[in-house]
């Protein structure tokens, strides 16, 4: 169950229920128990009925938040300060990964 169609299909999985929602909502819309029930229901139906790998089913549910969420997400607008903060966070992550690799943890 996921929201990033291209990434999951590029990887190659057995079955994929794709919800065209903002990232973070793979299992349904917030505060909407019926959409969450329906999303899992579709995933279970896919589990039962798919007959070949790389089967993607697109959920028919639509995001009920801001209609321009995709246009918004595609914009990358970073102030110089925010870009620097994120670069620093990225470098920290790389340092952690290097340390773990050196320690034989990965």
């Amino acid at each position: 169950m996921g929201c990033a169609r291209d990434i999951v299909e590029h990887c190659g999985v057995a079955r994929f229920l794709w919800s065209d929602f903002p990232l973070g909502n793979s299992a349904g819309r917030p505060g909407d128990e019926e959409s969450q029930r329906a999303t899992l229901d579709m995933a279970l139906t896919l589990l039962e009925r798919a007959w070949a790998p790389r089967t993607t089913v697109q959920s028919p549910l639509r995001w009920n938040g801001a209609p321009d969420w995709k246009d918004d997400f595609l914009k990358i607008e970073l102030t110089p300060e925010e870009a620097e903060r994120r670069r620093a966070a990225f470098e920290d992550q790389k340092a952690v990964a290097r340390a773990r690799k050196t320690a034989g943890e990965c």
Binding site: M1, G2, A4, R5, D6, I7, H10, C11, G12, V13, A14, W18, D20, P22, L23, G24, N25, S26, A27, G28, R29, P30, G31, E33, Q36, R37, T39, L40, D41, A43, L44, L47, E48, A50, W51, P53, W63, G65, A66, D68, W69, K70, D71, D72, F73, L74, I76, L78, A83, R86, R87, A89, F90, Q93, V96, A97, R100, K101, E105, C106
Partner: protein
């Protein structure tokens, strides 16, 4: 209004290029995708949930709704928790759409309660004793050689027939 599937890989390349890392990432790709049909009706199947969400750790900073990206909240090895009680899982350690996703409702990334209802109704046979959390890491080697085999081993210990992966 843009209504095609978002090209996340392209968007991610653009994002890292904007930070000064033009060749930041190579996405996982496999020529062969695994597949096995269910060998029994779903109503007899034991299902496990697998997530990339992280257990809440209050000492690690803001992990709540609308939290900024919090790398300190990342976990680095597979964890498992009982599936008969609702955990407190957060997603602040993951890159997601922070403008349009409030991250207030855990059920949007972790459908355990919904899965309980599916077993109560008899649609799903049972839920595995544990659910499992998989680290989000840039190392594909870690995922394929360490984390995935560990999750598989734990699923086999629990007699799992099918797993539902719900990455954030």
């Amino acid at each position: 209004m843009y209504d095609e599937p978002i090209r996340y890989m392209e968007r991610t390349r653009s994002y890292y290029a904007a930070l000064g890392y033009p060749d930041a990432y190579r996405w996982a790709h496999h020529d062969d995708a695994p597949f096995a049909p269910l060998s029994m009706p779903l109503r007899e199947t034991k299902v496990a949930l697998i997530t990339t969400a992280a257990p809440f750790q209050p000492e690690l900073g803001d992990q709540g709704p609308w939290a900024e990206y919090n790398a300190a909240a990342k976990f680095h090895s597979v964890y498992s928790k009982p599936a008969n009680e609702l955990p407190d899982l957060r997603i602040s350690h993951v890159g997601y759409d922070r403008k349009h996703t409030s991250a207030e409702d855990m059920r949007t990334w972790f459908p355990l309660a919904a899965l309980w209802r599916e077993t109560s109704s008899g649609r799903v046979g049972s839920i595995a004793a544990r659910f499992h959390g998989v680290p989000t890491t840039r190392s594909q080697r870690q995922t394929t050689e360490i984390d995935a085999p560990e999750v598989l081993a734990r699923c086999r210990e629990d007699g799992v027939d099918a797993a539902v992966l719900v990455p954030v």
